[in-house]
């Protein structure tokens, strides 16, 4: 059976991608940020999974206003890095895992979560920047990736509660896949940031760190936070953080059938940094008990 070994949480700021692509990671502005991911790149080498299930949002790239799927699972064999307006990022093609993706879609849809199945899609910085942060800039990504795009651009976006429950369903789906795969689930985006209007540049360190605390210790309670709290406290684009609840929901301590007192995940790494461009960067690695 497949098994979720760990979950990874990270911001996916486009400027981080630009810094990597332009060779600026050693500059004083960027040094502290990349230092915060040194542990993660080493950890990734030592814990390379067979598949990454990568939750992110499309930023008006694959999905225009013509179609706005709330939850879209990438079932293709490969996904090309998108041209977001600056030209495509010089990063490897993302190889998918169509069998596991199809299995998860089948399982989760029959579990009452109506996913959109996507067989052709380019992937933007929301997906490729986390891969760079965790894997560096290799000639090929270390394993297949299943892109899972969440609408957080046009309201209404899914609630934290819905995301958490969906994560639980994804966890069950992975555990029922009939091959001994090690799977990581990543939740990306956030933390506090606002990219629009006179309130642009909002950062809320206290709120972000409280979010990290609760994501670790009380994800079920955290999932009840209404959208307006994210907007007011973490900026209009801070709403991306609901995606972290999908990854957290897939961890074994909060599985629907988990015995009460099921072992909590181990915090392998925690990092927080302000700023990357307009954004507060948060990062966590949580390991499931072996």
């Amino acid at each position: 059976m497949a098994h979720i070994t760990a979950s990874v949480y990270t911001s996916h700021v486009p400027a981080i991608g630009a810094a990597i692509d332009l060779g600026k990671t050693g500059e004083p502005y960027w040094q502290p940020l990349f230092k915060g991911y040194e542990f993660s790149r080493q950890w990734m080498k030592e814990h390379t999974p067979d598949v990454i299930f990568l939750v992110y949002n499309d930023h008006a790239t694959a999905f225009s206003l013509d179609m706005i799927p709330t939850f879209a699972i990438g079932c293709a064999a490969a996904f090309q890095p998108a041209d977001e307006g600056w030209g495509p990022r010089p990063v490897p093609t993302v190889i998918g895992h169509p069998e596991l993706a199809a299995h998860i879609a089948q399982s989760v849809i029959q579990d009452d979560f109506d996913l959109t199945i996507v067989n052709k899609m380019d992937v933007d910085h929301g997906l490729t920047v986390p891969l760079n942060l965790m894997c560096g800039s290799p000639a090929a990504w270390p394993c297949p990736v299943i892109p899972f795009a969440v609408n957080v651009v046009q309201y209404p976006v899914p609630s934290g509660r819905r995301c958490f429950n969906l994560g639980q369903a994804i966890g069950r789906a992975v555990e029922s896949f009939d091959a001994p795969l090690k799977v990581q689930i990543w939740g990306t985006g956030g933390m506090s940031h606002q990219l629009q209007g006179p309130r642009a540049g909002l950062i809320n360190k206290e709120w972000d760190n409280r979010f990290l605390d609760r994501l670790i210790a009380d994800p079920e309670g955290l999932s009840r936070l209404p959208h307006i709290d994210y907007v007011r406290e973490a900026g209009s684009e801070g709403i991306e953080l609901v995606m972290w609840l999908i990854a957290r929901g897939a961890m074994s301590d909060v599985a629907r059938d988990a015995a009460s007192g099921a072992a909590k995940p181990t915090v392998a790494h925690r990092f927080y940094h302000v700023p990357a461009s307009n954004t507060a960067v948060g990062h966590l690695i949580l390991e499931n008990p072996a």
């Binding site: 606002q194 209007g197 309130r199 909002l202 959208h227």
Partner: protein
């Protein structure tokens, strides 16, 4: 029944909901066309002619020509779509976001390096934070206006 919008009392913030999306559909779809290099070149060569190919309002076209992102957003634009215009101009997200505050590029950058804008006074309209309508534009531009 109209949409429930609990977010209308957040200062300096426009939530991109179904009403905004409907208003800005053609503006945002025009922005999407700039994802293709050839369309970026065509736009740079003749902005007005490109805009006239879209059933946008004259006000929306003027806002694009002026690169007035606050105006674009008021008229239904969304920042992730509008970013394609910025990309065409060679602007970063930070330059785009900063342009909506009235601050100079350097002032905005310094604010971010110093930890960003505080949520204090900026949670609800009527508080006294720097994102409130009566404190625009921000930075030196606002200081001059207030003299």
């Amino acid at each position: 029944m109209s949409l429930d919008k609990p977010y209308l009392d957040v200062p300096g913030t426009t939530i991109f909901d179904a009403d905004q999306s409907r208003k800005g559909y053609h503006l945002n779809q025009f922005c999407m066309s700039l994802m293709k290099a050839a369309n970026r070149e065509r736009f740079k060569a003749n902005e007005r002619a490109c805009l006239d190919e879209w059933p946008m309002t004259e006000e929306q076209k003027q806002a694009v020509l002026a690169r007035d992102l606050n105006r674009c957003i008021a008229l239904g634009g969304n920042i992730y779509f509008l970013a394609k215009i910025g990309a065409t101009d060679g602007k970063s997200f930070q330059q785009m976001a900063g342009s909506m505050t009235g601050m100079s590029e350097d002032e905005y950058r310094q604010m971010m390096i110093s930890g960003g804008r505080s949520a204090e006074g900026n949670r609800r309209i009527g508080e006294d934070g720097d994102a409130q309508a009566n404190r625009q534009p921000q930075g030196k531009a606002g200081a001059k206006a207030g003299d």
